[in-house]
């Protein structure tokens, strides 16, 4: 047993402490801003690129950052890169849209019964590890040189990962939420659109992001491998051509465009969707 101790009361100070609530300094706020920190990192990377390239002094192997930016600016001004980028993006959207549509159909089929689910799982297990580029030779034989081959390969890149994510999203919906949805006497399509789709949306969005990243990489690679088939050719073709002519700063400019477009879609398009939906709903 501890000894009995006296009770105690304390006087509360109202003025001894100097800070109750004080605005943070601008520098501190800037440092707390993720975008600002990332911009700083990008700037540092650009500076070290510039320094290393100058020290190496071999523009054929590794052009400086300023040369690359100059080449990029020139190609944008001449309309070469915008044209190539527009072509690539157009192809990407076509393949992506068809891939999503097919993923939706496959998921619907998989959700209808056990055999469908087994089929989806088996197909995904088979085809997901298969790099899309590996299908390119086959696509060329089947569809010939042309947009169709590229779109076929893009669909392969998008379809499996999106379908898998969609399906697991639907399966992960809690039984409670399903029962709540059924309680209102909604029609079948209404139940799907207003309960199941939003409930599975976090997984669907993940699928969309993964599918997009796969598709973009696959497209650039496909353009590199079999170059121009019809039309003006895309970014991959642009990079390939500039390399053939030893315009190394332009090769870098092409690569930079691929990266910038990737960053833009990731940080502008998908981030915005995420903030407006899953983050706002606390469904992450």
């Amino acid at each position: 047993m501890p000894d009995p101790r006296p009770e105690r009361t304390c006087a509360i100070s109202t003025s001894a402490f100097d800070v109750v609530e004080k605005p943070l300094s601008p520098a501190r706020k800037l440092y707390d801003n993720t975008a600002a920190r990332k911009m700083l990192l990008l700037a540092l990377l650009a500076v070290s690129w510039e320094l290393y390239a100058r020290w190496l002094n071999n523009p054929l192997l590794f052009p400086t950052f300023t040369d690359t930016v100059k080449a990029l600016a020139a190609s944008i001004a001449s309309g070469e890169i915008p044209k190539a980028a527009a072509y690539s993006i157009g192809m990407l959207l076509k393949g992506y849209a068809i891939g999503l549509l097919m993923a939706g159909l496959l998921t619907a089929f998989a959700s209808a019964g056990r055999i469908g689910a087994d089929l989806l799982e088996t197909l995904t297990a088979m085809f997901n590890p298969l790099p899309s580029i590996a299908l390119l030779p086959l696509a060329l034989i089947w569809f010939g040189l042309g947009d169709l081959s590229v779109i076929f390969v893009l669909i392969h890149a998008v379809l499996w990962s999106v379908a898998l994510n969609m399906h697991s999203g639907f399966r992960a919906i809690s039984p409670t939420l399903r029962m709540v949805g059924q309680n209102y006497g909604l029609s079948k399509p209404g139940y799907l659109a207003r309960i199941l789709l939003p409930a599975a949306f976090p997984s669907i969005l993940t699928g969309l992001k993964i599918g997009w990243a796969f598709a973009w990489r696959t497209l650039i690679a496909a353009e590199l491998v079999f170059g121009v088939s019809s039309g003006p050719g895309g970014l991959g073709w642009y990079i390939f051509e500039q390399k053939n002519q030893l315009n190394i700063p332009d090769v870098f400019a092409g690569l930079l465009t691929v990266i910038l477009f990737g960053l833009a879609v990731e940080n502008l398009v998908f981030k915005t969707i995420e903030n407006a939906t899953v983050n706002r709903w606390g469904m992450q």
């Binding site: 309680n183 939906t277 709903w281 606390g282």
Partner: protein, 246 residues
């Protein structure tokens, strides 16, 4: 109340046997359970874990078909879930997470075709006020505490003005203090509108507090042991009826 209206029970459960399948077994949840719920009853189904009381409530909700017996509301057999029987679950995730508290209620009212949007918003505001969530009407569910989520779910269910409210241990996941408070609030709400509620619980004190009439089920499979009035019962009486193998 008209004598004719009170003569016919609102909900008739007649010899209901329920079974469900797990991975390895076919389980009989309840065996030939019968009871009647009258309008404005606070009817509690009380029993130990595994007596099939939640399954029974789901059968009334229309989510499960009895293998034997029948469930009828106002004389009409129940086949599927519908907005005349609104469920309140134990789980906190029963609010649609992509809608605010207010939108959850408005959606329930409009999706079921009960009200047009404008009236639905008015009624939602009204019921949100009743459960003291006015400040949080525009909040998304993930920003609310467990008790607030249950309040919102109760407001949503009551705003639907169902023939019968089905509550499956709605306060079981709450802390003791909040639970008592919510039980009082529910009784207060009942005083206002005298709704009919079928309430499932495994807690004897809760059954006595909430219920006006209590159905006692045995465990595994659930069979009716007794049906008693809450007034005139106490914990010892209920306990001995539930657990004595006389």
């Amino acid at each position: 109340m008209h004598p004719a209206a009170s003569a016919r029970p609102l909900l008739e459960v007649e010899g209901v046997t329920l079974q469900y399948r797990t991975r390895d077994h076919l389980v009989t949840a309840t065996y030939r359970v019968s009871f009647n719920v009258h309008a404005s009853d606070r009817f509690v189904i009380l029993g130990p874990s595994g007596c099939g009381k939640s399954t029974l409530l789901k059968a009334v909700g229309g989510y499960i078909k009895p293998v034997e017996g029948s469930v009828a509301l106002n004389g009409t057999p129940i086949h599927s879930p519908g907005p005349d029987r609104i469920f309140v679950f134990q789980e906190f995730d029963q609010l649609l997470p992509w809608k605010t508290v207010e939108e959850n209620i408005v959606f329930a009212l409009t999706a079921s075709g009960k009200l047009a949007r404008r009236e639905a918003v008015d009624r939602a505001t009204d019921f949100i006020h009743k459960v003291k969530l006015t400040e949080f009407a525009r909040n998304f569910p993930h920003t609310l505490s467990g008790g607030m989520k249950q309040r919102a779910a109760i407001a949503r269910a009551m705003a639907m003005e169902p023939r019968i409210l089905l509550m499956d241990e709605p306060f079981a996941a709450l802390d003791a203090l909040t639970r008592t408070q919510m039980q009082d609030e529910l009784l207060q709400l009942w005083q206002d509108t005298k709704f009919t509620v079928l309430f499932v619980t495994h807690s004897i004190p809760e059954a006595l507090r909430i219920g006006s009439r209590i159905l006692l089920l045995s465990a595994h499979p659930g069979q009716v042991k007794a049906e008693v009035n809450a007034a005139g019962s106490d914990e010892t009486r209920i306990e001995s009826m539930l657990f004595d193998h006389a």
